[in-house]
Amino acid sequence: MLSMVSGEVDAFTAPSLREELLAVDIQEDMLVELNLSEVSYMDSTGLGVIVAFYKNVTANKGRLVLVGLSQRLQRLFDITGLSGVIHIEKEGAVNDHERI
Protein backbone atom coordinates (compact mmCIF):
# COMPACT_ATOMS: atom_id res chain seq x y z
CA MET A 1 0.00 0.00 0.00
CA LEU A 2 1.34 3.41 -0.91
CA SER A 3 0.47 6.67 0.75
CA MET A 4 1.66 10.21 0.24
CA VAL A 5 1.88 13.06 2.73
CA SER A 6 2.35 16.62 1.51
CA GLY A 7 2.58 20.17 2.86
CA GLU A 8 3.33 21.45 6.34
CA VAL A 9 2.73 19.12 9.26
CA ASP A 10 2.44 21.09 12.49
CA ALA A 11 0.11 21.41 15.49
CA PHE A 12 -2.67 22.72 13.25
CA THR A 13 -2.53 20.13 10.46
CA ALA A 14 -1.34 17.08 12.43
CA PRO A 15 -4.76 16.10 13.84
CA SER A 16 -6.31 15.62 10.37
CA LEU A 17 -3.26 13.68 9.17
CA ARG A 18 -3.52 11.47 12.25
CA GLU A 19 -7.18 10.83 11.55
CA GLU A 20 -6.52 9.88 7.92
CA LEU A 21 -3.59 7.61 8.70
CA LEU A 22 -5.35 5.82 11.52
CA ALA A 23 -8.32 5.16 9.22
CA VAL A 24 -6.07 3.07 6.96
CA ASP A 25 -7.04 -0.58 7.18
CA ILE A 26 -3.85 -2.47 7.99
CA GLN A 27 -3.74 -6.20 7.33
CA GLU A 28 -1.23 -8.82 8.36
CA ASP A 29 2.04 -8.77 6.39
CA MET A 30 0.99 -5.64 4.56
CA LEU A 31 3.86 -3.39 3.50
CA VAL A 32 2.88 0.23 3.94
CA GLU A 33 5.02 2.80 2.16
CA LEU A 34 4.60 6.37 3.36
CA ASN A 35 6.07 8.90 0.96
CA LEU A 36 7.19 12.12 2.66
CA SER A 37 8.89 13.76 -0.32
CA GLU A 38 6.28 16.52 -0.54
CA VAL A 39 6.46 17.43 3.15
CA SER A 40 7.82 20.97 3.32
CA TYR A 41 7.81 21.30 7.10
CA MET A 42 7.42 18.95 10.03
CA ASP A 43 7.92 19.30 13.78
CA SER A 44 7.36 17.10 16.82
CA THR A 45 3.61 17.06 16.35
CA GLY A 46 4.15 15.48 12.92
CA LEU A 47 6.65 13.01 14.35
CA GLY A 48 4.02 12.07 16.94
CA VAL A 49 1.57 11.25 14.16
CA ILE A 50 4.14 9.12 12.32
CA VAL A 51 4.89 7.29 15.59
CA ALA A 52 1.17 6.68 16.20
CA PHE A 53 0.81 5.32 12.65
CA TYR A 54 3.90 3.14 13.05
CA LYS A 55 2.48 1.71 16.27
CA ASN A 56 -0.84 1.00 14.57
CA VAL A 57 0.81 -0.70 11.58
CA THR A 58 3.05 -2.78 13.86
CA ALA A 59 0.18 -3.73 16.19
CA ASN A 60 -1.69 -5.09 13.15
CA LYS A 61 1.39 -7.05 12.06
CA GLY A 62 2.08 -4.90 9.04
CA ARG A 63 5.36 -3.23 8.10
CA LEU A 64 5.93 0.50 7.63
CA VAL A 65 8.61 2.06 5.47
CA LEU A 66 9.16 5.80 5.09
CA VAL A 67 10.47 7.02 1.74
CA GLY A 68 11.45 10.29 0.08
CA LEU A 69 12.73 12.09 3.16
CA SER A 70 14.48 15.39 2.52
CA GLN A 71 17.82 15.93 4.24
CA ARG A 72 16.01 18.13 6.76
CA LEU A 73 13.46 15.49 7.58
CA GLN A 74 16.11 12.79 7.78
CA ARG A 75 17.98 14.98 10.27
CA LEU A 76 14.85 15.36 12.39
CA PHE A 77 14.41 11.58 12.48
CA ASP A 78 18.10 11.16 13.34
CA ILE A 79 18.14 13.74 16.17
CA THR A 80 15.07 12.23 17.79
CA GLY A 81 16.32 8.68 17.42
CA LEU A 82 13.30 7.70 15.35
CA SER A 83 15.45 6.62 12.41
CA GLY A 84 16.70 3.79 14.63
CA VAL A 85 13.16 2.62 15.28
CA ILE A 86 11.21 3.17 12.07
CA HIS A 87 12.51 1.81 8.78
CA ILE A 88 13.54 4.60 6.42
CA GLU A 89 14.37 3.87 2.80
CA LYS A 90 17.28 6.11 1.94
CA GLU A 91 17.59 5.35 -1.74
CA GLY A 92 16.27 8.14 -3.86
CA ALA A 93 16.40 10.59 -0.98
CA VAL A 94 15.42 14.02 -2.17
CA ASN A 95 18.16 16.60 -1.99
CA ASP A 96 16.92 19.86 -0.53
CA HIS A 97 18.56 21.87 -3.26
CA GLU A 98 16.74 19.92 -5.93
CA ARG A 99 13.39 20.56 -4.36
CA ILE A 100 13.33 24.31 -4.79
Partner: protein, 156 residues
Protein backbone atom coordinates in the same frame (compact mmCIF):
# COMPACT_ATOMS: atom_id res chain seq x y z
CA UNK B 1 21.55 53.34 19.93
CA UNK B 2 20.24 49.98 21.04
CA UNK B 3 22.27 47.13 19.67
CA UNK B 4 19.23 45.21 18.49
CA UNK B 5 15.83 45.71 16.88
CA UNK B 6 12.92 44.31 18.82
CA UNK B 7 9.96 42.72 17.09
CA UNK B 8 6.93 41.48 19.00
CA UNK B 9 3.84 39.51 18.07
CA UNK B 10 0.83 38.76 20.25
CA UNK B 11 -0.54 35.51 18.96
CA UNK B 12 -4.03 34.15 19.77
CA UNK B 13 -3.51 30.77 21.39
CA UNK B 14 -4.89 28.74 18.49
CA UNK B 15 -2.81 26.25 16.55
CA UNK B 16 -3.86 27.82 13.24
CA UNK B 17 -1.56 30.78 13.99
CA UNK B 18 1.58 28.73 14.65
CA UNK B 19 2.39 28.59 10.91
CA UNK B 20 2.13 32.31 10.25
CA UNK B 21 4.22 33.11 13.33
CA UNK B 22 6.85 30.62 12.17
CA UNK B 23 6.85 32.30 8.76
CA UNK B 24 7.42 35.75 10.29
CA UNK B 25 10.31 34.46 12.42
CA UNK B 26 11.90 32.78 9.42
CA UNK B 27 11.70 36.09 7.56
CA UNK B 28 13.53 37.86 10.39
CA UNK B 29 16.18 35.13 10.55
CA UNK B 30 16.64 35.37 6.81
CA UNK B 31 17.36 39.10 7.07
CA UNK B 32 20.06 38.49 9.66
CA UNK B 33 21.77 36.14 7.23
CA UNK B 34 21.20 32.68 8.68
CA UNK B 35 21.78 29.70 6.43
CA UNK B 36 18.90 27.63 5.05
CA UNK B 37 19.49 24.89 7.62
CA UNK B 38 19.71 27.33 10.55
CA UNK B 39 16.46 28.99 9.49
CA UNK B 40 14.75 25.58 9.37
CA UNK B 41 16.11 24.86 12.88
CA UNK B 42 14.79 28.19 14.17
CA UNK B 43 11.39 27.53 12.55
CA UNK B 44 11.06 24.17 14.28
CA UNK B 45 12.32 25.39 17.68
CA UNK B 46 9.99 28.39 17.75
CA UNK B 47 7.01 26.34 16.57
CA UNK B 48 7.68 23.82 19.32
CA UNK B 49 7.75 26.53 21.98
CA UNK B 50 4.63 28.26 20.64
CA UNK B 51 2.78 24.93 20.36
CA UNK B 52 3.77 24.10 23.95
CA UNK B 53 2.51 27.47 25.15
CA UNK B 54 -0.82 27.01 23.35
CA UNK B 55 -1.39 23.41 24.37
CA UNK B 56 -0.22 23.53 27.99
CA UNK B 57 -1.12 26.99 29.14
CA UNK B 58 -4.70 27.28 28.04
CA UNK B 59 -7.46 24.73 28.34
CA UNK B 60 -9.59 24.49 25.18
CA UNK B 61 -12.41 26.66 26.43
CA UNK B 62 -10.13 29.44 27.58
CA UNK B 63 -8.50 31.57 24.90
CA UNK B 64 -5.35 33.39 25.83
CA UNK B 65 -2.42 34.95 24.05
CA UNK B 66 1.13 33.89 23.47
CA UNK B 67 3.68 36.67 23.27
CA UNK B 68 6.52 36.11 20.83
CA UNK B 69 9.37 38.60 21.03
CA UNK B 70 12.39 38.57 18.74
CA UNK B 71 15.57 40.56 19.30
CA UNK B 72 17.39 41.02 16.01
CA UNK B 73 21.17 41.45 16.29
CA UNK B 74 23.72 41.49 13.50
CA UNK B 75 25.04 38.08 14.48
CA UNK B 76 22.25 36.37 16.43
CA UNK B 77 18.54 36.14 17.06
CA UNK B 78 16.95 35.91 20.50
CA UNK B 79 13.42 34.58 20.61
CA UNK B 80 11.24 34.84 23.69
CA UNK B 81 7.98 32.93 23.89
CA UNK B 82 5.73 33.65 26.87
CA UNK B 83 2.34 32.52 27.99
CA UNK B 84 0.50 33.85 31.00
CA UNK B 85 -1.70 30.87 31.56
CA UNK B 86 -1.32 27.83 33.71
CA UNK B 87 2.36 26.98 33.92
CA UNK B 88 3.84 23.53 33.68
CA UNK B 89 7.04 22.38 35.28
CA UNK B 90 9.52 22.67 32.44
CA UNK B 91 12.38 21.07 34.38
CA UNK B 92 10.24 18.13 35.35
CA UNK B 93 9.02 17.67 31.78
CA UNK B 94 12.53 18.01 30.43
CA UNK B 95 13.78 15.14 32.55
CA UNK B 96 11.18 12.89 31.03
CA UNK B 97 11.93 13.62 27.40
CA UNK B 98 14.76 12.69 25.12
CA UNK B 99 15.55 10.83 21.93
CA UNK B 100 14.07 7.45 21.22
CA UNK B 101 16.08 4.34 21.86
CA UNK B 102 16.56 1.66 19.20
CA UNK B 103 15.73 -0.99 21.77
CA UNK B 104 12.33 0.47 22.50
CA UNK B 105 9.41 -1.76 21.56
CA UNK B 106 6.89 -0.20 19.18
CA UNK B 107 4.10 -0.15 21.74
CA UNK B 108 6.17 1.81 24.25
CA UNK B 109 7.30 4.63 21.99
CA UNK B 110 5.92 7.94 23.18
CA UNK B 111 3.89 9.96 20.73
CA UNK B 112 4.58 13.30 22.35
CA UNK B 113 7.12 15.07 24.50
CA UNK B 114 9.78 15.61 21.86
CA UNK B 115 9.18 19.34 21.58
CA UNK B 116 11.38 20.46 24.45
CA UNK B 117 14.09 18.07 23.42
CA UNK B 118 14.08 19.48 19.89
CA UNK B 119 14.27 23.09 21.11
CA UNK B 120 17.42 22.29 23.07
CA UNK B 121 18.92 20.32 20.20
CA UNK B 122 18.31 22.95 17.53
CA UNK B 123 19.13 26.21 19.34
CA UNK B 124 22.47 27.37 20.77
CA UNK B 125 21.14 28.59 24.13
CA UNK B 126 17.85 27.91 25.86
CA UNK B 127 16.67 29.42 29.14
CA UNK B 128 13.35 28.93 30.83
CA UNK B 129 11.66 31.15 33.37
CA UNK B 130 8.82 29.48 35.22
CA UNK B 131 7.01 32.19 37.12
CA UNK B 132 3.29 32.83 36.71
CA UNK B 133 3.44 31.29 33.25
CA UNK B 134 6.33 29.91 31.27
CA UNK B 135 8.77 31.98 29.27
CA UNK B 136 11.24 30.30 26.96
CA UNK B 137 14.27 32.30 25.81
CA UNK B 138 16.30 30.86 23.00
CA UNK B 139 19.26 32.12 21.05
CA UNK B 140 20.84 31.13 17.78
CA UNK B 141 24.10 32.58 16.47
CA UNK B 142 24.93 33.09 12.83
CA UNK B 143 27.86 30.96 11.76
CA UNK B 144 30.57 33.53 11.11
CA UNK B 145 31.15 32.83 7.44
CA UNK B 146 27.49 33.43 6.71
CA UNK B 147 27.41 37.03 7.89
CA UNK B 148 27.78 39.12 4.78
CA UNK B 149 29.73 41.89 6.54
CA UNK B 150 32.42 39.38 7.36
CA UNK B 151 32.92 38.14 3.86
CA UNK B 152 36.36 39.20 2.73
CA UNK B 153 36.77 40.40 -0.78
CA UNK B 154 40.10 39.88 -2.41
CA UNK B 155 41.56 43.17 -3.61
CA UNK B 156 44.24 43.50 -6.19
Amino acid sequence: MREFDYFEMRVPSKTQYVGITRLAISGLANRIGFSYDDIEDIKIASSEAITNAIQHAYPEAEQGEVVVGCAIYTDKIEIMIADYGKSFDFEEVREKVGPYDEETNAEFIREGGLGLFLIESLMDEVKVLNDNGVTVFMTKYVAREQVKEHVETDTF
